[in-house]
Every structure is written in C-alpha cells, then in structure tokens.
Subunit: 201 residues, 2 copies
Amino acid sequence: MSEETAQRRGRGRRPAAEVRAAVLAAAGRILLEDGMQAVTFDRVAMEAGSSKTTLYKWWSSPGVLAAEAYFAQSRRVLEFPDTGDVRADLITQLKAFVRWLKEEGAEKPVSELLGAAQLDASLARAWSESYALPRRELARERLRVAVRQGQLREDADLDIIVDQLWGACYHRLLVLRVPFDESLAERLVDQALYGSAKHGR
Amino acid sequence: MSEETAQRRGRGRRPAAEVRAAVLAAAGRILLEDGMQAVTFDRVAMEAGSSKTTLYKWWSSPGVLAAEAYFAQSRRVLEFPDTGDVRADLITQLKAFVRWLKEEGAEKPVSELLGAAQLDASLARAWSESYALPRRELARERLRVAVRQGQLREDADLDIIVDQLWGACYHRLLVLRVPFDESLAERLVDQALYGSAKHGR
C-alpha cells in the first residue's frame, strides 16, 4: 500500500466512485501488462488500495472485472471522431483499433478474455454488456450521422457495417489467426462502402 | 468395441487411412453431440475401435484431434456451390453455414474450440491449419471464378470478402454474442457486394 493510500485511509473512506475508478484503472493496467491470469482480486485490491471485500461485492469474478476494466481502458483510445467525412473517420477509428491491438498491448488480453468467455457464461455476459454492445452502440451513433448526412444509404444495415469493419479484425485475430496491420483499415472501409461487385444491383 | 470391429481386429490391422477416417468420424460425432470436453483419447479410441497409442502418435492433444474432426464434419455440409451466379452461391453457402451453427449443433463446439484456442497455442495452430485457412482457400477459389467471370471487381480483396461474410457471423457468435439466423445471409452478401455508401467513389 502506498503512503498516500494509507494516509487517505487514515482520513476515512474514499467515495465509492473514486474507489471504483481506482480499481478499474489498476485492473486495466495489470490486464494490459501481464494478461488476464494476472488480474486477481488480491493483486487488484493491493494496487488500487482498496479492500478485497469491496471487489467481491462489486464484481462476481476477476474475469468480469477484467472485462469492465478493458472497456474503461479502451474508451480513452478508441473514440469515434466526427469530422463530417464518414470514410475518413472510420479509417481513423479502425487504425486506432488496430494500433490498440497490435502496438498498445491489447491483442493478448482481448484474445484471452474472449477465449475464456466462450467457456464461462458470466464472463461472456460481462464482455457483451460491458464492452461489445456499448462499443457497437458508439459505432452506430457515428454511422447514423452519416446516414442523415446522405453519406450512407438509408437502407444500409449499420450492424452489418460494424461486422464488416471491427468484426473483420476479430476474425483475423481470433479465427484465422493471421497477422494484419493498420494498412487493413483503408481497404476494409473502402470495400464496405463501395462493395466488391463489378456492377451495381 | 463392436463385434464387427473385434472381428476386423482379429483379421489383423486395418489400413492407416481407414483407422484415421474412423477416428475423425468418432471424434466429430462426440464433439457435435457432447462438446469439446467429451473428446478424450479414451472415448474416441473406444468408439473408433482404435488403440489409444495410435491416437497419441497422430494427434498431440484431444483438442488438436477435435479441430481436425470439426473440419472433416463440416466439409460434408459446407460445400461451395458454383451455379455461375456468385451472389446466389454465396447466399446458399452462408445459409448452410448459419444452419450448421444454429441448427446442426456446431455453435457450441466451435465456440469452445475457438475459446480454448485463445489460451492454447498448439490448438490455435491446429485450428488455423486444419480448419480456418483451408476453408478460406475454398472460399477464395469460388471468388476467383467470380472475378474471372466479371461478377466481382478485379481489384476486390477476396480475403476481405471472407472477413465480411463468415467473419461477420463469427463476430456475432463470439464477440457480440447476439442471436442471428439464416436471414442474415442475404443481407451480408448484398452489403458486401454493393456496399453501404449512398454514392460511388
């Protein structure tokens, strides 16, 4: 426990929101540095200066805490920009996503989290609710703007665009297990926007 | 051991190819009926009428055997048709893939296999080499025909089409964990072929 944490404790309880943020920050840091197995309630409690009882109260398992911490960490780096040009903004966001996976250490923990989620229903639910579905909603919001601005077709299925862009990266990461880099972003976006058929419908 | 198997053994060794086929069939049947944990060398050897020694010699782990058996099972049901109309053929194949996942019992074992693969490098390699990359090559072959016939653009990235179709299904299955059904197939194919942008490039 750091001196600062000890002093703070001496002055009484920290507000719950502050403890929660400290726990998520510690869990996220441990997850990205040392992987999912390292995210234990013992280590997170120690590094966040919180009690293990608190962790047990708020999270049903270390995996569930790790999923929520992953969303909190990624939120900082995976913003959806809005410059008014949906093609440019999707490329920017996808490049940030690929860098997050490939250069900023997220590839291993996200693979581990998603792997464990296939064998653990409560972790699967936490992943969907804490990360995957909220991120899809952020993407939809940006895409709806593009529909309103006449850049995407009114009848475009926005969820399919999400599958075609971020889903494509997960496909290469988890299913095919082939390398990819930022240069994939522009090709994915162009093929999703303009299609692969030689002629229109 | 069945009487027939016992008799056959009495007559001496079966040819290796025959044993291999029997082992893959038994492992695939167990995988689809009872899930990945049920695929043990003990049970597969018993049901295939082969020796455990043979299994240890040919497969480094039951998971690796399960991955190869999964490919053998799916091959029967996931053919790539070629009627000359790539849109219709992709929809047919994707519908068969969704039925295979959702109605023919593959969803659970494929999720378990891919989940375990994220935490086990040798299983990951077996999955890629035995299933994912060979299936991608089968898809590419069909797509190359469509390029030659002028149905797909010469500069279309065929691997991206694979990501946009089958990768989209895996995204919903493993990452978002949302339900989907056969009706997704046509929408996926149309959006991949014709794009989501309101105007061309």
